[in-house]
Amino acid sequence: MTIQFNDETFRDDYSFFNSERAIKRFPFPFHEDSYMYSVNMEQHRGGPVDSIYEKRFDVDEHYVAEMRDRALVLADDPLRCQSLPHMTLAGWDLLELIMVTKSEDYPDLFKLHRDGNKWRWVNKPLGIDDKFVFLDETTLPYGPMEYITRQAQGDFCVLDQRDDNLWMDAGMVTTQADWSLDFDIGMNFFEWHAPVPLAHEKGIFVRALKFLLNIQQGAPARRLNWTMTVNPLLDTSPENYHKWGIQKTTLTPKNIGAKQHLRVELQTFFRLPRSNGLVFPIRCYLCSFQDIMTVPKWGRRLHRVIRDLPEELATYKGFIDNRPMMLEYLKNFDDGLPTSLGIWPEIDTEPKLQK
């Protein structure tokens, strides 16, 4: 289908919005009425038509506005995009993966013409038409990773694989849930996850690493992760935390439905062919509480999950202070009826709110 790109902002006046279509395809991250960490990994082999799982790299109505926001973040802080010297080949791998995939999955938006190493890339939504020589950095305006990730939604961590570990050796990180690429670059899998509570003790990272080390070319994997954000702010970086942290205190019982957003990350994992690296795109989807509440199943479930979440997790995810106000709001959308398993909205089969 043709995508209408929103003219919207993720800062200042926050004109970001989700269309009805975007709400229905929002990746609601809870498949049951409670939540705990797990290695919730599955193959990334498509999904229901028009769902965010259907294409390998989902392009949606926020594409153009998100790329505009990324350019603003980078102009303000170039350290959000870094690549250690040995990662350039992996950057080319990533460029190829995204160009080939997007031109196959969205032929009306992206075109790739290849004649040996002479490539021409056409990105219609962003008005780009560039010719360059594949594997020749001097023919692109940026390094290969930066060039292509300025044109792809979501953050990208490019991981080197060695010593039976994964190393965060390159990345484009402008829409992160409060972690710093500049600080974490060069760390291994356990080190960059060090601040996460509870999951180490549960053996989550040992098992997740084992899974990731074995991802094969052409067989990508995926999982969902989530947190909470006040206002549709993409750049919730630690770098700018002293500027945006205060926004958490602007919630009131009146504005919470519009201001409080559930922030969901679609994390995917692709093996890169030449470098044997792994690319780990982290795609951020935002949805306001009031939009989520238009789906009765999600309304019931979100209340139960937030109510029963262990304190450590609510603290780590940064909403412990606002949890009571969230529950005051969310309980109005929970009538106690059972919910069906799975993340899908099921608007036609689930009962309407009985309140």
């Binding site: 710093s180 356990f190 080190e191 601040p195 180490h200 630690p238 770098e239 500027k243 942290g245």
Partner: protein, 198 residues
């Protein structure tokens, strides 16, 4: 001086051991302050015939005792910054098999480890032993400035002036812990500082 036992922490936080002599064609020993005592403990006459010692006294009086170990080369300098070009030269001149021993404060160990890593030595092949001050080298995540020798939490970033809390999250590449604004969600509400491990 007795050794400080650091509390259990997260997986990015460095863990220090006790220096032990390893066979090698050359030995590079770098220390500050009370780190000298770790060198005095590990040094043997044979080791010293192939040793280069770089020492930053920081007000401590161990330089003469270290010098009297008779290493091939001995340097005592006023600061890490002053010693850096010498350290980098020694590392770049080094042959395969150089043994590296670092002792003293976390800031010294971290920076010297980073220099050795830049020279191609894997971080887990470098021996470290903590001695002396438990102060940390902190990076302000906001302005990126480094504040050396931080002993209290929270502390004031000496570059941008924000009050930062001291995290255990550590970057080998920066040789620093992360400092994050403590009153972002409640401006002006800054708890009284106390010692990092109090």
């Amino acid at each position: 001086m007795s050794k400080f036992t650091f509390p259990e922490s997260i997986k990015s936080r460095p863990v220090y051991g006790t220096l032990a002599m390893r066979d090698g064609p050359a030995h590079l020993l770098v220390a500050d302050g009370h780190g000298a005592e770790a060198i005095l403990d590990v040094a043997t006459p044979i080791m010293m015939t192939k040793a280069h010692i770089i020492y930053l006294p920081k007000g401590e009086k161990f330089a003469n005792r270290l010098r009297s170990l008779n290493p091939i080369s001995f340097y005592s300098g006023p600061s890490y910054s002053a010693a850096t070009s010498r350290l980098v030269k020694v590392l770049s001149d080094a042959k395969m098999g150089l043994q590296v021993y670092l002792a003293g404060t976390e800031g010294l160990i971290g920076q010297a480890q980073n220099a050795a890593m830049e020279a191609g030595i894997p971080h887990n092949a470098i021996q470290t032993e903590h001695r002396g001050s438990i102060a940390r080298r902190m990076q302000c995540v906001h302005c990126k400035g480094i504040t050396e020798d931080v002993e209290i939490d929270p502390f004031i970033c000496e570059h941008c002036g924000l009050s930062l809390f001291v995290r255990d999250h550590y970057s080998r590449r920066l040789a620093a812990y992360q400092g994050v604004c403590i009153d972002a969600e409640d401006p002006g509400n800054i708890p009284k500082s106390k010692g990092i491990y109090e």
